[in-house]
């Protein structure tokens, strides 16, 4: 015990060691938090084209000086900071989403939690098992679906894949056929189970990956972009399945850059950008934080010159103003401070101005708006 404490003190500082000991003493700090990340960090050495890393002297030459471009963060030119101190918990029966643009550090976080990558600093604990000190214990409690569809053996059938992985997840031999059938059934793959995976569609491969993740009946699921590349119908089906898995009391961590998906699925969302969490709450609460709630979109055909909407409606703020050359109409997006009276003022004002309304819609706020209001950038581009 003393040995273990002092060793980790040396490696990670006394505070983390104490926390770990305390958690161990209480048998897990929070019994319902199945995933805990504390100040997780990951940085990668910046590789340069032509750098031959397996010769020590080559690294020394190329490691210094650098080309001075792309320096990011305090670590400077030598490192790419992928995850820069994220902390969160995922509770039993909760879907927790990491939402962020490309390169935000979502996959890197998942890889650290699933023991594929060693954190540069910080702690990650799965069901009371630190991924760094007890990786096998942690893996035994995890079902992981990584991004991409190449994680299965294409030259084996769906069933053969599952049978193989069931054994690797230590499902008792006599239970394997039963469990494999159960997983196939559950993911709607039973009728195609004996075909080679190379003949599966993307959606089927994705469901087979999820079936594999369920084989050991794990309490925690980590899903990296589970609906990426699926058609809308398959994506919808997969989301329903994920909700079902949550209702069984599993803790689910998923990453996505579809805000509608995060909105629909997640109980809580962490918006992540440049490796840091910039907001974390339920989707509803995140949207309520926005200065306005709804966006009113109008498409107008003007009869006389410039229309000054903000004069007509005092509480209106124009978020977007765009003239459509093809149709000759004006597209306006507004937010209203006092929707009820402002709307009335808007309609009377428009009537007096002689402009005709071609199109009108009210848009509920999305997590995208939350992201824009936090970063000033769009989530996807």
């Amino acid at each position: 015990m003393i040995g273990a404490i002092s060793r980790s003190v040396l490696r990670r500082g006394w505070r983390a060691a104490l926390r770990r000991e305390r958690r161990r003493a209480t048998g897990g700090m929070d019994m319902d938090a199945l995933v805990t990340a504390e100040d997780l960090r990951k940085r990668f050495p910046r590789k340069r084209v032509g750098q031959r890393r397996w010769w020590p002297w080559a690294r020394r030459e190329n490691g210094r000086g650098g080309n001075g471009t792309g320096a990011s963060g305090a670590a400077g030119d030598e490192w790419i900071v992928a995850v820069d101190g994220v902390s969160f918990e995922v509770q039993r029966g909760e879907i927790f989403g990491l939402l962020g643009p490309n390169g935000a550090g979502k996959s890197t976080t998942i890889r650290m939690l699933s023991t594929l990558l060693e954190p540069s600093a910080g702690t990650a604990v799965i069901c009371g098992h630190d991924v760094r000190w007890e990786p096998m214990q942690a893996r035994a409690r995890l079902g992981v679906v990584l991004a991409g569809d190449r994680s299965l053996y294409w030259k084996l059938s769906g069933r053969e894949n599952l049978e193989f992985f069931a054994t690797l997840y230590h499902v008792p031999a006599h239970e394997v056929p039963h469990r494999v059938n159960w997983a196939l059934e559950r993911m709607g793959l039973a009728d195609r189970a004996d075909e080679l995976v190379e003949r599966y569609s993307t959606g089927m491969k994705q469901r087979l990956s999820l079936a594999r993740a369920l084989l050991a009946d794990p309490p925690v699921l980590l899903l990296d972009e589970p609906t990426l590349g699926l058609d809308p119908q398959s994506a919808r089906n997969l989301r329903e399945l994920i909700l079902e898995l949550k209702r069984e009391g599993r803790a689910i961590l998923l990453t996505t850059h579809y805000m509608e998906e995060a909105d629909f699925l997640c109980d809580r969302v962490a918006i992540i950008d440049h490796g840091t969490i910039i907001a974390m709450d339920s989707p509803g609460a995140l949207k309520r934080r926005l200065p306005h709630e709804r966006v009113y979109r109008l498409e107008l055909r003007e009869t006389n010159g410039a229309l000054r909407l903000t004069d007509l409606v005092p509480g209106a703020a124009v978020v977007e103003e765009r003239r459509d050359e093809a149709t000759g109409t004006l597209h306006l997006a507004l937010t209203l401070a006092e929707p009820e009276q402002d709307l009335a003022a808007l309609w009377t004002g428009l009537a007096h101005s002689g402009a005709s309304v071609v199109n009108y819609s009210v848009q509920e706020p999305t997590l995208e708006d939350v992201f824009i209001s936090l970063t000033g950038r769009a989530l996807r581009d």
Binding site: F44, L116, L117, S151
Partner: protein, 279 residues
């Protein structure tokens, strides 16, 4: 849920990997067929060349320098060990890289198993497939060209088996290195070719220039092949057979300890650098 990784579980895992690799192997029938055909294609011109150097089926010059005139048997025995060397480099080292590029390696690494056991499983199926391959090739060569093995084949197997075990210890280290190196293809090509040149699989090491011979004598496979030939064909051994056996046995221990150590080091490095999967 309590987690155990006892020997029985590990052996089950090994068995599952064997069954899986076995299936996947036969689902590429062209590859399987080519691995049988290649050694025969390669031996054919050498056979006819050897014939022109022989009188009444006896290669006299060859006999003078090795102690046997049956150069086909000499090469077949070298070929058995050579095929294991090749398979350790190409299958063990390289198939892991292939799985890494395909993305299935991460799936394996995500299972709650020690990576070493996963590699052991892979080694076993490799040994089996290479054995089948080798025996088939030997049979084909026997039918086509004919050769004789007069000595104690059982005893030779007692040397071959630990030699193979040692080779796979090296294979595990090599598998780790290949994961890390970018262009593993040329590295593998060069090294395995070099080992084949200096270890005297197709000719006695004594035929090599001095510098290369010294390198050859530093490799345990050289002693293994030499002892196997001495036992089966009655060739003159480089060193007494007992010494060769000792070299092979020591190398089993050394290669496995070192192989494991190197693999773990590289594996830790890969996890820190994140080279796995992202390419």
């Amino acid at each position: 849920m309590e987690w155990r990784t006892d020997l029985r579980t590990n052996l089950r895992v090994v068995r599952a990997i064997i069954a899986k690799d076995w299936r996947v192997y036969w689902r590429y029938p062209v590859n399987a067929f080519m691995s049988l055909l290649t050694p025969i294609m390669w031996l054919t011109p050498v056979f006819f060349l050897g014939l022109t150097f022989s009188r009444d089926g006896d290669a006299l010059g060859f006999r003078a320098s090795t102690g046997t005139g049956d150069f086909v048997a000499f090469m077949v025995l070298g070929g058995v060990v050579a095929s294991y060397v090749r398979t350790v480099f190409w299958q063990m080292g390289f198939s892991l890289k292939t799985e890494m590029e395909q993305g299935t390696l991460e799936s394996l690494w995500l299972t709650p198993n020690s990576r070493l056991w996963l590699l052991v499983g892979r080694s076993v199926v490799n040994v089996l497939l290479t054995a089948i391959n080798t025996v088939t090739v030997m049979a084909a060569v026997y039918l086509l060209f004919g050769f004789e093995m007069t000595g104690n084949v059982g005893q030779a197997l007692l040397i071959l088996l630990p030699l193979i075990v040692a080779l796979y210890g090296f294979g595990i280290a090599y598998a780790g290195i290949v994961l890390y190196v970018k262009d593993a293809n040329s590295l593998t090509d060069l090294t395995s070719f070099f080992v084949e040149v200096v270890s005297g699989f197709n000719y006695p090491v004594t035929a090599l220039p001095r510098a290369l011979m010294v390198v050859g004598l530093a490799l345990p496979v050289t002693y293994g092949v030499d002892a196997i030939r001495a036992i089966v064909l009655g060739t003159r051994p480089l060193v007494p057979v007992q010494v060769s056996v000792a070299v092979v046995l020591v190398s089993v221990v050394v290669f496995w300890v070192l192989g494991r150590w190197i693999f773990n080091r590289v594996d830790a490095r890969v996890r820190a650098m994140g080279t796995l999967g992202t390419h």
